[in-house]
């Protein structure tokens, strides 16, 4: 299921300009179809996370980039770990 830009702005409670900056910063990397960005549920959850970081946790823009980078590394590591541990394999294969 993909989400178009208008729906995404509405569901993430974002304005267009902010979204463009987030994409520019590569905080969000939507896929593209016919020249229009297409968003996934994961992109939406990530947008909500960015909002939490900025608004609830008081993280500034520099901090958001660093946190996302480290989080992405952590999730990749978690997945690598999960692939190695047979008991966790079922979880990581969920998709």
């Amino acid at each position: 299921m993909t989400i178009n830009k208008l729906d995404f702005l509405y569901r993430a409670q974002l304005d267009q300009e902010t979204l463009e900056i987030w994409i520019e910063e590569e905080w969000l990397v939507p896929s593209e179809a016919a020249g229009e960005p297409e968003f996934s549920e994961a992109d939406l959850a990530r947008a909500k996370l960015i909002r939490d970081l900025k608004h609830d946790l008081g993280v500034n823009d520099e901090g958001v980039g660093i946190i996302l980078n480290l989080l992405d590394q952590m999730h990749s590591l978690r997945k690598a770990m999960a692939d190695m541990l047979p008991s966790k394999r079922g979880r990581s294969d969920l998709s």
Binding site: S40, E41, D72, L77, S92, L94
Partner: protein, 301 residues
């Protein structure tokens, strides 16, 4: 549900700044995306955000204080977080980043292998794979060839056909697909090969089958005949007494494969003369021995 003041650890008289500060302190510790493996933190964060939801809104806080709403009067906390998606994402997920462990993959043991695989799976901002179809001649498929594909955007793509390619096989041209949006590598071009049938060769596995018409004399008396193969004609010895359906094998004249070639299997097909042939007619009418041969004897009911 516990008392929201208790959950945030603030006094009933706390100012809205105090409440925000208390919430931030707890959220930094408990936010599920900052604790992806910690279920307890997630449960506690739900409580904390419910409490904050009531106390950070002056209207709701007043209603709670006066007993008009209880702690359940808050909005339902959201049920999923980014971590839930990050955990289930498959290969090619745009946010994957192996920088945290890429160096482990350089080692030479079983764990390194697993890390390597993981690192390969993550293709940060990789371009799209583009699909093409290419139709080639039978002989180009068996011998290999170099083809140029014209793309819809006017560009061209040089495709090297390896000898022995199969119909429907897909060639992956690394980095010849869509460009990456960011710093990642370009996607691949995937070229599906379809092979047009040949007039007289057919391919079965790595062997080439050919039905070869021969004359009655060539089959019955034995002969040397010229036979086409994918790499040019060769002379084939037809043994004396060959018949329709006899199969002769030309070793190594088939399709290239790992460590050699398949064979070409030549199936003979005896062709009687198409023109009237009085000499043969006379012979056959007088040939009494031939009349005792019954090729249909196995078909008697």
């Amino acid at each position: 549900m516990k008392d929201p003041y208790e959950i945030l650890g603030v006094a009933r008289t706390a100012s809205s700044e105090d409440i925000q500060k208390a919430y931030r302190r707890l959220a930094k510790k408990l936010h599920p995306d900052l604790n992806p493996g910690n279920k307890e933190a997630e449960e506690r964060f739900k409580e904390v955000s419910l409490a904050n939801d009531i106390l950070s809104d002056a209207e709701k806080r007043k209603k709670f204080d006066s007993g008009e709403i209880d702690a359940f009067g808050a909005e339902r906390p959201r049920q999923s977080y980014y971590k839930d998606y990050a955990a289930q994402a498959g290969a090619g997920h745009p946010y994957e980043n192996p920088s945290g462990f890429a160096d482990f993959a350089d080692a030479d043991d079983i764990f390194a292998e697993l890390f390597r695989r993981q690192a390969q799976q993550s293709r940060r901002r990789r371009g799209a794979d583009l699909h093409y179809r290419l139709t080639i001649e039978f002989l180009d498929a068996t011998k290999g060839a170099s083809k140029r594909l014209t793309l819809p955007d006017g560009g061209t793509l040089d495709v090297t056909i390896p000898p022995g390619i199969q119909d429907g096989q897909i060639l992956r041209l690394r980095g010849k697909g869509g460009p990456s949006g960011g710093e990642g590598e370009a996607g691949d071009a995937l070229v599906e090969i379809s092979i047009t049938p040949h007039r007289f060769f057919t391919r079965v596995g790595d062997d080439i089958h050919l039905e070869l018409p021969v004359t009655l004399a060539e089959a019955f008396l034995g002969s040397h005949v010229k036979v086409p193969t994918p790499t040019g004609p060769v002379m084939l010895k037809v043994p004396k007494g060959s018949n329709t359906g006899s199969i002769l094998r030309l070793k190594g004249k088939g399709v290239p494969r790992q460590g050699g070639h398949g064979d070409e299997l030549v199936k003979l097909k005896v062709m009687l003369p198409t023109e009237p042939h009085p000499e043969l007619e006379t012979f056959l009418s007088n040939w009494t021995a031939g009349k005792s041969y019954d090729p249909r004897r196995d078909m008697q009911p």
